[in-house]
Subunit: 404 residues, 2 copies
């Protein structure tokens, strides 16, 4: 296991990565709303996008651009998502990448693009056109925080993480910024996670490392089960560490992947803790399922159940709701084999309240801001886990009382 | 189309049907909690139950009893669901049907049983044993309302419906009572719908009529997407109308089914209007799907989306959330073909805000207690619809602040 050293800062902790954030006037509030991440050296790149069938124009354009596995910049805006905007939206997204490409002297297709915010409205292109030169001029090795701020919507704080890891005797840095989580913002917001590394990673390895890291953390957090039309995760790997290329199947790549997953997981935990109206973060782990897939389905059913989530909000050890949520999941469940614990405290055994379960202790555990619910289905060896939040009155206020 | 005449009252509007409701002390509040419906003549019966894999003991016992297609009584309790109670729960349920059967001089298997309320706790059998003779003694042709009250949990009002229809020159009566809807109660409650008719229905036709009526209405209402472990719908058909038996494929059966569906649909609309914390009832209809199944999946995805439901609560014409919910559904969606209306007002065309959409008018429509959202996917001929409620702060209060 290689040494991992957490660093201050985020994406610009990575050598050769510059960033910039500014207020272009997209947000009526006047807050920062335009962010740029730039690698001074050409970079390999990989990205994953929302699986929603309704996709924003920036997603459509970035999906096209990423096909060659290379990118040198990520341009992101907040306040207007450029979703459901038709051909005009596609043209606007292309124009933005073209302008930034010209300013950076790279091709438009080297500029990935992402947007979050109100949907169904065209981007205020006049304001954006007026801002892009300043955005590029503002690029700096200290600009990571500013970029992290410029992608925020209902996030209450910017999210950054970075670490250094030694691979084959060379220090490698991995950093990232993120925003939102699983449909958080009043107007259809979005999860962004932008990552960078100075590692030289074989071109066929980077998409796999990214996909695995996303599956292991970002795809396992849930706030409300809804799914944005703009979710985008992207990584730039510029190779400035001059390490021997990390090839598929190599020990070096495994070590890199571990560090990479740690950064993504840290950002994911920041996202879920900042979920809309969230007062708790709960790990729901399931073992004893027939398959890993069924373990995940069962965990998701519990984690997304409004009745479980309101019980979590009320710190109520209402295990019947967990049984209900398990029973309605597509995973096979035999009710008389189910065991449930909260933290280390056994609550349910053989599908019934465990004799002598210490409910007072469990209530106290559930009053904590973070704890785990562990479920054993008693049927097989499949296990998986997800992270969820509670469903609070504040969530309803944020999402219901907003008016266009 | 035969004449339908709505009647006052509910299940005891049906000739030969008696009912009774009383407080047995299961509910700490002292409210009514024990209900009995009885047909003075032997009856054909059919029932459908929750599809949750975790099932209450009464569901297990009733599923066994209904196999012969006959029943003469329905015994229902509220306040304690007898779910997750192991072998003792099964024994308790059987004992209750045995006692009532002895008092009514029918076999235990002629007594269907249902329970709703707290889960994981044994029924207070001493109190129930002490009450059953009084419950049977209380049976009366005016007892329908009392039975409807005795099955309530967080329902704010009892639900009854009855109508008369003429089939082949003979008047036929159909009546029912219902409670709850789709996981409403703080402790895992339940939807019950108990129906009766004096029609003589062929034994192989009754289960089909019931299933079709349930699919058309009760299975298309949703409050929070959660699913009780105790849902039970049952019908008794005692044949006292002395009509010619309604055989499968006959015109008479079709006419009967239409009346039966009207009663079930009326009860369903009462259920959704009384959903926990609900301030609105919204019909979500989808057409233009590739198949009817996909239309239903798309409608459900919209109807269950927390973001759509909070927008409904806030009367916010946030059509982007509807697009998002369509896009995440398993149904095929092509975003540039989607059209959405609220009431008769067009809102979205070709996946974008319709030019000239009258948002003020739509906001006013959404302030009404009932309205429809109509979606055209533009892909095929599949259509279906569901009814949903908004997600209110009150829902979270009801479900979160309750402590055991």
């Amino acid at each position: 296991m290689p040494d991992m050293q957490w660093l201050d800062g985020g994406i610009t902790a990575v050598p050769g990565i510059l960033a910039s954030g500014m207020a272009a006037g997209i947000k009526p509030s006047g807050k920062k709303d335009l962010a740029l991440v730039y690698s001074s050296a050409p970079a390999r790149a990989a990205a994953v996008f929302t699986s929603n069938q309704v996709k924003g124009a920036p997603v459509v354009v970035s999906q096209e651009y990423i096909r060659d596995g290379r990118a040198q910049a990520i341009l992101a805006s907040s306040g207007c998502s450029n979703v459901c905007t038709g051909e005009q939206g596609i043209r606007d997204a292309r124009e933005m990448t073209k302008t930034v490409g010209e300013l950076l002297r790279i091709k438009p297709a080297q500029v990935l693009i992402a947007a979050t915010g109100v949907i169904g409205q065209p981007l205020p292109m006049d304001k954006i056109r007026a801002a892009l030169a300043k955005l590029v001029k503002g690029l700096s090795p200290q600009g990571g925080r500013s970029a992290a701020e410029a992608i925020m919507t209902t996030d209450t704080r910017p999210k950054e993480a970075a670490l250094r890891i030694e691979i084959g005797g060379r220090p490698i840095t991995i950093g990232g910024i993120a925003k939102g989580v699983g449909m958080l913002e009043p107007h259809l917001a979005t999860m962004f996670c932008f990552l960078a590394t100075d590692a030289m990673v074989a071109s066929d390895a980077l998409p796999r490392v990214l996909k695995r890291a996303v599956d292991g953390s970002l795809n396992r957090i849930t706030v409300d089960g809804d799914q944005s039309t703009s979710d985008t995760v992207a990584v730039l790997a510029n190779g400035l560490a001059e390490n021997a290329p990390l090839e598929r199947g190599s020990r070096g790549l495994r070590e890199f992947a571990r560090g990479f997953e740690a950064v993504v997981a840290k950002l994911a935990s920041m996202l879920v803790a900042d979920g809309e109206g969230a007062t708790k973060v709960v790990e729901v782990s399931v073992r004893g399922a027939r398959t890993r897939r069924e373990a995940l389905l069962a965990a998701r059913s519990v984690a997304n159940s409004p009745l479980v989530k309101t019980a979590v909000n009320g710190a109520d050890p209402n295990w019947g709701r967990i049984m209900m949520a398990l029973g309605k999941s597509p995973a096979r469940v035999a009710q008389d084999k189910v065991a449930i614990s909260v933290g280390d405290e056994a609550l349910v055994e053989k599908g019934m309240l465990k004799a002598g379960a210490r409910l007072d202790k469990i209530r106290a555990l559930m009053a904590e801001p973070e704890y785990s619910i562990s479920i054993d289905l008693g049927l097989g060896r499949g296990q998986d886990r997800v992270w969820t939040t509670d469903l609070s009155e504040e969530y309803v206020r944020i999402n219901g009382k907003y008016t266009t």
